[in-house]
């Protein structure tokens, strides 16, 4: 069963366009939704739940169209969009008490476990929390009703490296132990290197890749050269470095050439791809 299917999602703004965005999520995998700032990540995620109204396209959660099954679908998903900046002067336990009543499967035990893990003090208000702690609070709220799909918009932004690492452990546990599906947008590529099964790459409102992380990384190599006027044929996204230039090249195009190629990581790919028009 497909957990989420997005087909030909279009939304036009005066200066930006989501153009035929399509992707599909399968159960029990972590999907990294990557793209630079302004590429369309948040607009896409907001369109999924109809916060933003797409001009056209089809969105199905658990093989059911969203509009006709909104309540049932929202019970089965958790959505976090940045830090908990709502009701900043109410104590966390008050906000939690109000929120949990909405969920049929709310689990206090799970919630308190996350509060302990994230060192959240229920007597504090969001205004007394740092940006990172606010993110942790919204994650604790979203992950305590046994959601089958978690949609997280930049959940690791604002977190210190140790907290980010802890959170990625939580994500891996959720997928392994509970079969949760996770879609999270980020521009911090190292997070994805560690935990993503697949990546969905959006650039200027277009999905330019959906692939397993390993095969995506394997599909490119990095080449180095000194003189930009002798840029090798097939080089993508030429980028200046201290001692020359680097560019990506599709792995399939490397055979038969007498050059040395380096393996790449997601950040290398992103930095070069974004240089291309």
């Amino acid at each position: 069963m497909s957990v989420l299917t997005v087909k030909n999602l279009c939304k036009t703004y005066p200066k930006f366009k989501l153009d035929n965005v399509s992707f599909e999520l399968e159960k029990g995998k972590i999907y990294g939704f990557i793209g630079r700032n302004g590429a369309g990540k948040t607009t896409t995620l907001k369109s999924l739940l109809n916060f933003v109204h797409p001009d056209s396209g089809e969105i199905r959660f658990f093989d059911k169209p969203f509009e006709q099954n909104e309540l049932e679908i929202k019970q089965k998903i958790g959505f976090v969009s940045g830090a908990a900046n709502y009701y900043i002067n109410k104590k966390l336990h008050v906000v939690t008490d109000v929120t949990k009543r909405f969920y049929d499967n709310w689990d206090d035990e799970v919630y308190y476990r996350y509060c302990e893990m994230f060192a959240l003090d229920a007597d504090k208000t969001p205004s007394q929390l740092s940006a990172g702690m606010k993110v942790k609070y919204s994650l604790a709220l979203a992950m305590s009703h046994h959601a089958e799909l978690l949609i997280l918009d930049e959940p690791t932004s604002g977190l210190d490296p140790v907290s980010r690492d802890d959170l990625l452990d939580v994500f891996l546990d959720l997928v392994k132990n509970e079969g949760v599906t996770l879609l999270f947008s980020t521009h911090i590529t190292t997070d994805l290197d560690r935990c993503a099964d697949e990546i969905i790459y959006i650039k200027n409102g277009h999905i330019i890749a959906q692939s397993t992380l390993d095969s995506y990384i394997e599909s490119y190599r990095l080449m180095r050269f000194i003189d930009v006027s002798y840029t090798p044929i097939g080089a993508l996204g030429v980028r200046r470095e201290r001692n020359g230039f680097t560019a990506l090249i599709p792995t399939s195009a490397t055979s038969g050439r007498e050059m040395e190629y380096d393996k790449v990581n997601l950040e290398d790919i992103m930095l070069h791809i974004e240089k291309e028009d």
Binding site: V80, N85, Y86, V98, R101
Partner: protein, 215 residues
Amino acid sequence: MRNLINKELKLALHPTAPLFLVLAFMLIIPNYPYYVAFFYMTLSIFFICLSGRENNDISYSLLLPVRKRDIVKARFITAAILELAQLTVAVAAAVLNHRLNNTGNDVGMDANIALFGLSFVMFAVFNYIFFVGYYRNVNKVGAPFVKSSAAVFVYIAVVEVSAHICPFMRDKLDTIGEEYLTEKLSVLIAGIVLWVGITLIALKKSIALFEKEDL
């Protein structure tokens, strides 16, 4: 809906709402434009929406497993509860007024049954103009309140002046005691009918506007 109302009362309710309920006792002031007491409740409803914007109430509500239309409905029910609560407190104040000063109100309408009917209409004017404007763009709370307040004050001016110059209002509605009870009760019932009808129309329009909005 019960959970959303719980959210409205525990998170969204502005502290001025219960405070302004007490202002219904302005009806015991001997000579005063009593509609002003009810205007305070519209101010409080505006504060709920204003502090909702500062507290990202809409973003929070959208994340909950509720329909967008129910978010609007819950806000309307909250406003209706507050308006009815203030009118209820005002009944006690009006009774007290009759005990304390049994001479009528020289400034405007007496604190009688017809005043309540006309106040229902005042709330209806507010509900329509404020909420339809607010749900057109939930990030702009001030402009709908300015518009609704302007309309409410024009309405107050018209009914208060009418209480002095319009013979039916002056001689029958603006009287104390049980005189002209039929006329006064008719105004009350008409006021309630208009309040319910106009508020429901405002709700329907607000839902349609909110559903269309990109948030």
